[in-house]
């Protein structure tokens, strides 16, 4: 399951999507809206996606995870639009026979998602709003000034 929608993400549904009788471990990651960032009081986050490409990139992350770790299933759900404080913008679930693979693949999936999946975050804070990563003078998150492949 790789999906993008505007509704709140149902964690139980993402977990159910990776259920497998041979799985002894399921790990999940939820990215939630924090009430503060770099000293600013955040009021809400707003996400925008290039949905067709984002789904394709999420699917590619799943394929890479399956190649690198002996996992059973992986699912990624991303919410777009307004995500209030405390709610989840992204939920990833991974199942595997033993827990090491599920932990490592889940960590890989969120790290990679934040690097390559075309989804953008606008932070609304007391006194303004900003597209994270697009402030003037910013370069790529890793510090590169060249476009990523």
């Amino acid at each position: 399951m790789f999906e993008i929608h505007r509704e709140p993400i149902d964690v139980a549904k993402v977990v159910a999507a990776v259920a497998h009788p041979a799985a002894g471990a399921v790990t999940t990651f939820l990215g939630t809206t924090r009430d503060n960032n770099e000293g600013r009081q955040v009021t809400l986050l707003e996400y925008e996606a290039y949905p067709e490409m984002a789904i394709a990139e999420m699917r590619r992350i799943g394929d890479t995870a399956r190649q690198r770790w002996p996992i059973q299933e992986i699912a990624i759900a991303h919410r777009v639009g307004i995500v209030p404080i405390g709610e989840a913008s992204v939920v990833i679930a991974v199942s595997s026979a033993h827990r090491a693979a599920a932990f490592e693949a889940c960590r890989f999936a969120i790290d990679r998602l934040k690097e390559v999946v075309p989804i953008w975050k606008k932070e609304h804070f007391d006194g303004g709003e900003v597209w994270i990563g697009s402030q003037v003078g910013d370069v790529f998150p890793g510090g590169e000034t060249e476009p990523r492949k």
Binding site: Y50, M53, A56, K114, P118, W120, K121, G133, S134, P147
Partner: protein, 82 residues
Amino acid sequence: MRVHVLYFASLREKVMASEASRELQDGACVGDLWNTLCREHPALEPMSASVSFAVNREYASRDQALRDGDEVALIPPVSGGR
């Protein structure tokens, strides 16, 4: 040739449009398209160092050649965060 351009997030706000169509010379590459757009919208210029590109939903380098009908997305830095 004609390509379809998609703007997202901060770039969409800078040009006040989410999509556009552009006529380009045959043989033009992604970088040529970017330069054309920057001339039309000088507000894009400061993003030159950080923008990425996708052609038909795959990341593409600036020297990738474009073809008639391509969908070119201008991709500002993705959400990031730790």
